[in-house]
Symmetry: C2
Subunit: 498 residues, 2 copies
């Protein structure tokens, strides 16, 4: 075989993987937006087949031979082609461990699980979800062994979402979080509380939709390449760097909910839309890890979106969208309201400060579930106990407890910690950004282009060309969780006049 | 190989074809509903790959061997399995003729063409669409040779949409249509005209949406398995017999437009939803031909939906949805208004009687384009001349002329005649239905279940298990276009008191 011919095959292989991925994404997007409700079965058949074909392609002996051949001729490849081969070989070696039938069965299971979870959550019926969750946990424990049999199962899963992290690393990280933030939250509990009642006046969905359009404009999201939809749980879905979809969920009695969902998902979208064209339709397209992805979404949401400069910049416009609701409110009141600290039940509605504790609870439970020291049937009990212990709140039912998140029903175990890690990365990015550029001058004028430019330069453009650790190093320097806890301590000490 | 093993492979083969089809459908549905506008390129890459994979699978030597093996052992197969093998062999023999690269290129072209056509139509710019249309025509002429090199190109294409028809058959059919209907339309032009001005009062979209929900209920369409969306051009898209989508387009100044779109697309949906479970995920799922499909949609739309019994039955409810607009209107006025004959420019807005002439014009043009006796650049000229000749109307621009339909941009040449054929089939179905059951008693009470039951029994349930000609025979008896022209003559003679 000639190298040129092999590169042609490499290109086609990656385009096929892209196509299967785009197809599954499209079917998924449909299922959570417009599909009629009793249609999971037929979609599951299609998704199962597509997942199977994608896996068969990646685990085909011919693919292995092609990758070995290109690896042997790596001297003749461009840097990008070398990275493509490297990434594909990693997937190949991992996937050849997973039997094709188990892979297909799992794809069908996650499709079914999503349906069951929706029903279970609606009726707060954990028993309905339990058998499915048991199967999901069993699959993930087994798959962890396929991913890396040298690692403990949960470490192997963590590695899937944030290559290089493990329980030791995360135990230390969450240790710092617990040590610094728990006393801070306690002090805040004793301080004078912030009034955010005006956030809960009546905000009609139609006005909120127009407000979302404005926020997307402020973020510089080109609507020709990025739409906004409405789903129960907001998410971002990328087809390629020209086609990204975000969704939000409007609550008429809480304007900040959708506002910060839009900014959060918009952050994910900025990442995907900022990836270089040359990586498109290859395995180097797409954000590099969940942690880095969350660093971007949470950077826009919290570090920028909940900054005094940003809130002051957009507030006059916000008053135009909601004149009756916000006529008697000042920008400073708004800034304080969107930063109100309130230990609560729902992760996605929690504030910037207590958020990491919500994540820590899920981390503890997943660690034990996958580690085999906790049975699925006991999840609600442990969940409720930890919420009481870390956040001091009583969980009234599983709908507001362990059934609130979609992650497990989608088969994601080991994903949650990346939310907290992403926040920590973000704090370090801010520190470095402030050394390089004037961050707050432009932001205080509602201009995010300078911030976005820095992030595109340091993070977005690379897609998966650099390793996660290298992106983090590039944008953050050496990982140091105390930068994160210091950032929070400074911000909330000032806010609550501690 | 054992027969049992071969049947397992047959099952998997068909499930894969189903999955590729579902994936492409999902991407298509997305593209015409929610996708951001500048995203055709990436979708085209995915659709091209999927079409290529589907074609590769069907034309794989192993597929050929499998089908031959099963054909040899046909004595050991069930009747359904035999039909699956037969259908697959027909596709196999046809597709092995088409080079894989041409097939992929064509899939990408139709994706691009859809975009170009939209822009060309918007700006009434035929020159923009011309080069794409030229490529589409060239591809179709070439593909016609692959489909059946014994046939004339257009006959080969016609055979794709309605197996068994050809130009000789259609020339005779349209001859009858022309002979009987042109004088009828002329007489109507000289009669007292119907007042339908109240159909063009202001009908808010929101009320029309609720009216659509009601119409779907009347048609017995289960919303758990069938959604309604909104697109520029209404269509029906089926994933399987549990998952069908219809779309409509609301015009605030014309209530009958969406009303009859919903009933028309609802008719297509009834067909797909009524197919037997045992055919799902096989090549026997799905309606058998375009003509038979149109017979169902047009049966519900015109023969039922524009009958006096149906209009009288739903009119009181219609007045509830539109009290201000229809308060001063009677059911009889409504019946006459929705049947007003008006030679016009736009096919999809034309009445039941002149509709076939719109189709005939497209038939004449396609026949010549594919036959090579008409150049693409001359399409607008010929189009405008024929509209003047058959319908007596002047075409002001190509937006209201040859750019109005999406079919050619989607690569469909030979599809149009099936609309007229479907109408003719429908008239014969009515004749037979009236012999079997009381049609109008239940319909006059707004109960379509008896009609739907007859159609399900004679047509829907079979999917593609029977040949198109056998379905037609089953439901219509011997094809006789004069039943159609008689039906129209009787209806419109009474309506216009001729």
């Amino acid at each position: 075989m000639e190298v040129k011919e092999a590169l042609g095959q490499l290109d086609l292989l990656q385009k096929k993987l892209y196509a299967y991925n785009a197809a599954s994404s499209s079917l998924y997007l449909d299922s959570v937006t417009v599909a009629p409700k009793d249609t999971a079965e037929g979609r599951g058949v299609a998704l199962g087949i597509l997942a199977g074909e994608s896996q068969k392609l990646l685990t085909d002996e011919k693919t292995g031979e092609l990758l070995s051949f290109l690896q042997e001729h790596r001297g003749e490849l461009s840097e990008i082609e070398r990275r493509e081969v490297e990434e594909l070989q990693r997937s190949y070696r991992q996937l050849v461990q997973i039997p094709a039938d188990e892979y297909m069965e799992y794809a069908m299971l996650t499709n079914e699980a999503s349906d069951v979870w929706h029903k279970a959550k609606e009726t707060s019926d954990f028993e309905l979800f339990r058998p499915v969750l048991e199967r999901l946990v069993a699959f993930n424990r087994k798959f962890a062994g396929y991913y890396d049999k040298e690692k403990k199962p949960y470490d192997a899963l963590l590695n899937e979402y944030e290559r290089g992290t493990d329980m030791e690393f995360l135990d230390a990280f969450f240790g710092e979080v617990r040590e610094k933030l728990v006393p801070l939250i306690e002090k805040i509990g004793q301080a004078e509380q912030i009034d955010d009642s005006f956030l809960h006046r009546h905000y009609p969905v139609e006005s909120q939709r127009r407000f979302s359009d404005y926020l997307m404009e402020v973020m510089g999201l080109d609507r020709g390449h990025c739409t906004i939809g409405e789903t129960e749980h907001p998410f971002t879905l990328e087809f390629n760097n020209q086609d990204v979809r975000i969704t939000t969920n409007y609550k008429e009695d809480s304007v900040a909910d959708s506002m910060y969902s839009v900014i959060h998902e918009g952050g994910h979208a900025k990442y995907e839309l900022g990836i270089r064209d040359e990586f498109q339709y290859t395995v180097l397209a797409g954000g590099v890890s969940m942690g880095v992805h969350e660093s971007q979404s949470r950077f826009y949401e919290n570090i920028i979106g909940r900054s005094r400069a940003f809130v002051e910049a957009i507030f006059p416009k916000m008053q135009e969208f909601f004149p009756e609701q916000l006529g008697d409110v000042t920008a400073e009141q708004m800034y304080r309201a969107v930063n109100k600290v309130q230990p609560s039940l729902i992760r996605t509605e929690s504030d910037e400060l207590t958020y990491s504790l919500h994540v820590m609870i899920r981390y503890e439970i997943e660690k034990q579930l996958i580690g085999g020291t906790l049975e699925v049937k006991d999840v609600p009990k442990v969940w409720n106990r930890l919420y009481k212990e870390y956040l001091g709140v009583d969980v009234p039912d599983d709908k507001h407890g362990c059934l609130q998140d979609s992650h497990w029903s989608g088969g994601s175990f080991g994903y949650f910690p990346s939310y907290a890690l992403g926040s920590a990365y973000g704090a370090q990015m801010l520190q470095n950004m402030e050394k390089d550029i004037d961050v707050w001058g432009p932001v205080s004028k509602g201009d995010l282009s300078v911030v976005s430019g820095w992030l595109k330069d340091k993070v977005h453009q690379y897609g998966s060309f650099l390793e996660p650790a290298d992106v983090v190093k590039n944008a953050c320097g050496t990982f140091d969780p105390s930068v994160y806890t210091d950032y929070l301590t400074k911000k909330y000490t000032e806010l609550y006049r501690l």
